[in-house]
Each structure stands twice: as structure tokens, then as C-alpha cells.
Amino acid sequence: MKVLVCISHVPDTTSKINFTEGDTKFDTNGVQYVINPHDEYSLTRAMWFKEKQGASITVVNVGEVTTEPTLRKCLAIGADDAIRVNTQATDSYTVAKQLAEVVKNGNYDLVLAGKESIDYNGQMVPGIMASILDYNFVNACVSLDVDGNTATISREIDGGKEILTANLPLVVAGQKGIVEEKDLRIPNMRGIMMARKKPLQVVEAVDFAAKTTAANFEKPAAKSACKMIDADNVAELVSLLHNEAKVI
């Protein structure tokens, strides 16, 4: 089985969020980048397919050269090779189109992505990519097994889970649950050494006219101070929630 894992390169969650150039660009100054956490869950599941079912794993990112350390980290975790599509990732549709090209050219059986990128929080790329390819697609996946040509998936729904089956090829957007937290891997020294020698192929982007553009960014208005209530006066909290906040 050929597995492709789509890797989004995102600011570490504790990063300061600031903008430059008249609030039109994200300020990358001093920002640490990591593998998008949801993609890390999916990559970990892919490692299981590799170790238990002999799958091969390719990781792919649509981005500029600055994303390569993130791809190398995936190689150190255990992916076999990496592809970077050399273009700035802005519009989700464009990113999905580039990924769809990679999938078509590589004939992957299973394409794993994350539920969302934690920077722009789109939740758009995997579904758009799958639909461009006319592949089956399952969102918000919390467990995934593949037996021959058939996948059994559970997806999170509001207030429960749904169990589904589909044939390969298939695109799955994974999230926490697809693997246990304790199974996430930290690259070891040997993995890091080996990653240096693994292939990282750079391909050029195909032409595509973006359908959306980010005009500018805004930060939320500063919050007013927290109103403190004495622990011995819980009744006051109830009254404030009713009369002032009007939420009960």
C-alpha cells in the first residue's frame, strides 16, 4: 500500500501571533514551526501501516523552502521519502489542487491529512483535494483500519461516532483518536541521521487561479479584566451570570 501523508507546517501553538506590512502578513519573526498536530496523529497511524502492513510512506508539503525542516522531521519519524511542491501556500483550493497533482502522479492508495491546520484553521484542503480527484473522502477520522482494498473508518459526529467503510483509493482527514497520544513519536538520533539521506524531491507547482485571498488580519479587541468574586459569596456569581452576563 502506498500512503501519502499531507503535512502542514505551522507555528508552534505557544507562538506570539503578530502581523506585519499593514497587518497583511503573518510575522514569522522568532516563530518556531512544527508539524501540524493533527497531521502528526495521521503520520503516526501511517507508521503503523508501514510497520504492520508493509506500507510505504511519502510525506508532502506545499510550501516554500523554509518548510523543509518540518519534512525532514517527518522523515526522521519514519516516512520513506518527501515531496515539496514549491509555492507559497495561501488559498486552500490552490494547495488542494497541488496536492491532487501529487496524488495523481504518485498513484497513492491512501492519502492521509489532518482535520485542520492550526494556523489558518481552514478544514478545507483534504475535502477539496479528494473532490478534485473524485476520490472517496472521510473527515474527522478517529480510527482507521485497512484490509486489502477496504478501509473501515470511524468519524466523529456531533454527539457520537459513525462507522463507515469505503474502498481505496481514499482520502482521510485524521484527528486525535486515530492513534493514542502515547504512540506519538519523537525522532531519535538514528532517525535524524537517516533522514538526512532520505530523498526530498522538490516539484514545481501547476498553474491555478486562486479563488480566495487574505486581505488582512485583525487581532481580537483587548479583554476587560476578570471580575473576581469571593469564594464565600458564590451567590453573587449566580446573580452576575443572570443579571449582568445574561447567560443563565
Binding site: 478544514q123 476578570c226 473576581m228 458564590v234 447567560v247 443563565i248
Partner: protein, 322 residues
């Protein structure tokens, strides 16, 4: 042109997000000086939507659509949009809505903006404000394609009553078997509980509670408030509570009217998932806990003393106010 809203229902009844999407659609239609069309699939009483501004309602009733199937639903939305000449399509952010929107986008060659929190700030160029960086910022996005899809964030625009006279029309799209490449085997619902997705109030607790055995008071608090229960990530990882309750960056997103956090420190990854909630109450023994900076109301105190008192006070309040 017209504006199309997909009003989602569950077992025939509209979800709150459907009413919110309809209210939003009415607003956008007025901004665009055009009319609103609302699509329902296997809903019991579609005319209810007139109350939220739905002028024309297209009802689709088909047994093949009894169980949600993203590709088939997306195809019905597309056929309805074509029939109604709709170029702006509004879809909610429920689990099903999030699944559907990208598929509809491709079927209609449309630009998609997800997590939209307000009415378009401009219609030319068509500009919407969406959440980004886990609620730490907003992005103003221009959708430049002819067809446009708006994924409306939960509890952002609000449900607005705006009664109109209108029509209900039955529509029978053709539904090809090829759309059902994915088969639903079973659905497991957590019954009898308010879910985080639907809740107006969420009561959440963290590692400060020391053990999963101490959740009785949290559940009791949730029960008096008609709230859903949630927890921080370590609590789910330790197996004290089920994973479905984990909220935050890597868990569920909460956009409730009221979020009560008990014994949760307020790490940035936790806040990322809950700060779209309107009012936040924090109960924590540590006055320096970072959560107080993000809260509206705070009590410095021991949860084991404060929560039972809060339950008692709320019961008295409910007894008085019904």
C-alpha cells in the same frame, strides 16, 4: 442570482445551527438585494424556517438520504443551487457541515471561506471575516470566484427571528448510486447527554480535580445548568474522562454562551479551543493561574468547596426563576 442556505436537520428536526445559518442567509440576501432560498433534506416541518427569514424553501424528501452521506448531500446542494441560480451558499459548521462544504466547493468551482463569524463586510470585493490562529486573530478573506461558499462558525451570528411570508416547494433531485462510495455501517450516539456541539453552556474540569472519581459534582453542576461536560487534554489522556470531552487546540472547539472552567490552568492550547465562548468563569485555587487573564468572572478557591456551593445556589436560583 440568489443566496442558498442548507438548513441541516437531525431526525427531521432542525438543528440550532440551521436556524443560525438561515438568519445569516437572510442578512446576506438583503445585503445583496436578492432573495433567500433554503434547502432542507428530510425535515419534518420546513415551514418553521419562515420565522427566520426563509422566503423560499426547497424540501427534498428521499429515503436514500436518511443517513447523512457527504457526497450525496453535496450533490443535492449543487443541484438546488443550479436550479435556483444561487451563487452564494451558506453551510453551517457542524460535523456534517464541515464535511460537506469542501465537496460542494469543488462541485461548484467555488471559493470557500470557513469559520466565518460575521456578515460580509463588503460585497464587492466580497469580503468575510473568519477565525484564524485558533481564535487568536481574524482574517478578512476576499472570495473572488463567481460562486462563493461561506462556512458559518457556530454561535457567531446568532439566531435571529425575522418572520416572512414565503413558499415551500418540493424538489426531487436525481440521486445517482455512484455517490454512495462510502457506506455508513452504524452510528453510535451518546444518548441522554447534552453534547458539546449543541450546548449553550459547557462545564469543564481539569487536572485540578485530582481523579476521575471526583466528577460527580461536575456532572451535577452540568445537570442544573442543562450544560455539556468537557475536560482538559491531560484529563482525557489519563483516562479520567472520555476523549470526546477533550476540548482545546487538539480537541473539540467550544463556542458556547457560557464556559465554566474548574481546576484548569488555562494553558494556551486549552484556551485556543474555548476562547470563542462568550462568557468564561474560572474556579481555581491558584490566583496566578493564567486562565484568570482570559476569564470574565473568577473565583479563587478550592473546587471541592466552591462547586457544591455553586450547585446549591443554582438550584435555589432555578427554583425561583423556573
Amino acid at each position: 442570482m440568489s443566496v442558498l442556505v442548507f438548513a441541516e436537520s437531525s431526525e427531521g428536526k432542525f438543528k440550532k445551527v440551521a436556524l443560525e445559518a438561515t438568519s445569516y442567509g437572510k442578512h446576506v440576501a438583503e445585503q445583496m438585494a436578492t432573495n433567500l432560498v433554503v434547502l432542507t433534506i428530510n425535515a419534518n416541518d420546513a415551514s418553521e424556517l419562515h420565522l427566520y427569514g426563509a422566503e423560499k424553501i426547497c424540501t427534498v424528501n428521499n429515503d436514500k438520504l436518511n443517513v447523512f452521506n457527504a457526497k450525496a448531500y453535496a450533490d443535492v446542494i449543487k443541484q438546488t443551487a443550479e436550479k435556483e441560480n444561487a451563487t452564494i451558499i451558506i453551510i453551517d459548521s457542524s460535523a456534517n457541515g464541515l464535511y460537506l462544504a469542501p465537496i460542494v466547493a469543488v462541485k461548484m468551482q467555488a471559493g470557500l471561506a470557513s469559520n466565518v463569524i460575521a456578515a460580509p463586510s463588503e460585497t464587492n470585493p466580497f469580503t468575510v471575516k473568519r477565525k484564524a490562529f485558533s481564535n487568536k486573530a481574524f482574517q478578512n478573506t476576499i472570495i473572488s470566484s463567481e460562486n462563493k461558499i461561506i462556512g458559518l462558525a457556530k454561535n457567531s451570528f446568532g439566531v435571529k427571528e425575522n418572520e416572512v411570508n414565503g413558499s415551500v416547494e418540493e424538489f426531487s433531485p436525481s440521486i445517482s448510486d455512484d455517490l454512495f462510495g462510502i457506506q455508513s455501517i452504524s452510528i453510535e450516539k451518546t444518548t441522554g447527554k447534552v453534547t458539546i456541539a449543541d450546548a449553550d453552556i459547557v462545564v469543564s474540569a481539569g487536572r485540578g480535580l485530582k481523579s476521575g472519581d471526583n466528577w460527580g459534582m461536575v456532572e451535577e453542576l452540568a445537570e442544573v445548568l442543562g450544560a455539556a461536560t468537557a475536560c482538559s487534554k491531560p484529563v482525557a489522556d489519563l483516562g479520567w474522562r472520555p476523549h470526546e470531552e477533550h476540548v482545546g487546540q487538539t480537541g473539540k472547539q467550544v463556542a458556547a454562551n457560557l464556559y465554566i472552567a474548574i481546576g484548569i490552568s488555562g494553558a494556551i492550547q486549552h484556551l485556543a479551543g474555548i476562547n470563542a465562548s462568550k462568557v468564561k468563569v474560572v474556579i481555581n485555587t491558584d490566583p496566578e493561574a493564567p486562565f484568570f487573564k482570559a476569564a470574565d468572572y473568577g473565583i479563587v478557591g478550592d473546587a471541592f468547596e466552591v462547586v457544591p456551593k455553586l450547585v446549591e445556589n443554582l438550584k435555589a436560583f432555578k427554583a425561583q426563576n423556573g
